[in-house]
Symmetry: C2
Subunit: 278 residues, 2 copies
């Protein structure tokens, strides 16, 4: 099998390294930066440079969502007929809606994919050949996606050593990701901004570090991702604001039994969540 990867950043680069480590597939790489291509070649992440897509049985678009849509649209006629194109973006519906019909018109199947891992750095220099060893490979087919394409992508995920492949819809993916990932970044970014943060006397709890870790984010990427998943994300922000208001009312009114109930319900919910994810 021949793979073409467009955009050798953290995710694209790591996928190439996984492919080369675990399979005998041939990997061609496309990147606007010649230094990145040189690095990828020297680290054996790709077999050769390509200038344009067209030879891949699977083409991986390792670009930010807006650039991914732009690239696929501009190069729609160049992909190999009957081949598969996948992206790696953190939102799915906006990308799939924009790209799937454009490529379908050229007999190319586009499928939205989300490899669920990341680091607080970006660029090929931080890519790893084990980044996805414990990660899920989320595949989001639509009603137009042939079953054999989904099967092939599932096999691909396991072949390159993802822990599991998960199949869902673009809509469901976006609802879940709004909660498990996007909201975490919004809350973390909000948390760090209290005026009290400036008073810290050199004692901070582990819980503070946990709650604010992902405030260190790439604002270019997340601005795009958030705006492409507006409804689900606003729903989650509303939810947590409402919950916070309940705790506030219990505390402000000194209502110990109510506060105790709220905390207990959260503790049980967390314990159940841990059990589900075992």
């Amino acid at each position: 099998m021949k793979i073409t990867t467009v955009g050798l950043g953290l995710i694209g680069g790591s996928l190439c390294k996984h492919i080369k480590k675990h399979t005998d597939y041939t990997v061609g790489g496309i990147d606007i930066n010649p230094e990145t291509i040189k690095m990828a070649l020297s680290q054996n992440a790709i077999d050769y440079e390509e200038k344009e897509p067209g030879s891949g049985d699977i083409t991986i678009i390792g670009l930010f969502p807006d650039k991914c849509i732009e690239y696929c649209t501009e190069n729609a006629a160049k992909f190999k007929k009957d081949s598969i194109v996948i992206d790696v973006c953190g939102v799915k519906k906006a990308v799939v809606d924009a790209v799937e019909p454009v490529l379908a018109a050229h007999d190319v199947t586009f499928v939205g994919v989300h490899p669920m891992a990341g680091r607080e750095f970006s660029g090929f220099e931080y890519s790893l050949d084990n980044m996805f060893d414990n990660a899920s490979f989320i595949i989001t087919p639509t009603k137009n996606t042939p079953r054999e394409v989904v099967n092939l992508l599932e096999d691909f995920a396991y072949a390159i050593n993802f822990k599991k492949a998960v199949i869902t819809t673009p809509e469901e993916h976006d609802r879940i990701i709004a909660y498990t990932s996007q909201l975490a970044h919004i809350v973390s970014s909000s948390y760090i901004k209290s005026p009290t943060e400036e008073l810290q006397l050199g004692f901070s709890a582990g819980s503070f570090q946990d709650l604010t870790r992902v405030a260190k984010l790439n604002e270019d990427m997340w601005t795009t991702l958030f705006l492409m998943n507006k409804d689900s994300l606003c729903f989650e922000i509303d939810q947590i604001i409402e919950r916070l208001g309940e705790y506030r009312r219990a505390i402000d009114s000194g209502d110990a039994p109510y506060l105790h109930d709220l905390l207990k319900a959260g503790r049980i919910r967390k314990e159940d969540s841990l059990k589900k994810n075992l």
Copy 2:
């Protein structure tokens, strides 16, 4: 020096183990549960059982805040004259205000202390002889506390292997702890309660685990701690609700530059915070 520890739970028990490991002080233990005393003796965390306070140069009250106030009030006349009594509670002003004058009337100096470490378990069986190796020992003197008592407690903290001793006031401690620890538990408990939590398809991001870790809490203890620090905690909840509202408005209105600014400010704030804590 002779130490008496009242309440051999997770914190009291771990303090005893630190003392026995790092000093040649004598430790007497008081606990309502005879099994706990037996365990503490067999693990050499205490040298002998005591039934009443009275012999300690330093007495450590390892009880929840309400029980700590009750115990000190009821036993005020029994502590050794000119000795020091400290607590280990997560709130300071309510405890210090209640206990300091009562013990001062018996020539005993009460100082609020907060050993900054914990585990998601409670009881002597989870106590550790290294729990405080990387922790801060917060000392909260008032205007009545003699300077030599503060010095002695600082020396005590380093002698039993705390990483550092930090001196602040009860009020300042409570403002900071409302932000770095209490708010984290409220946010985490709120976060886990979204209806979307039930939809999770077996893919959850690391950020979700970080944001919800401390939702698994002891609701009995935290209800008391929160209600004893009402004003500071309500202030922090108001702050984060206000910040969340800003992100929500930026996302809902599709205002990319505003959202980008908000995220960038949070990222910079987090980076500065990390530098300060190096």
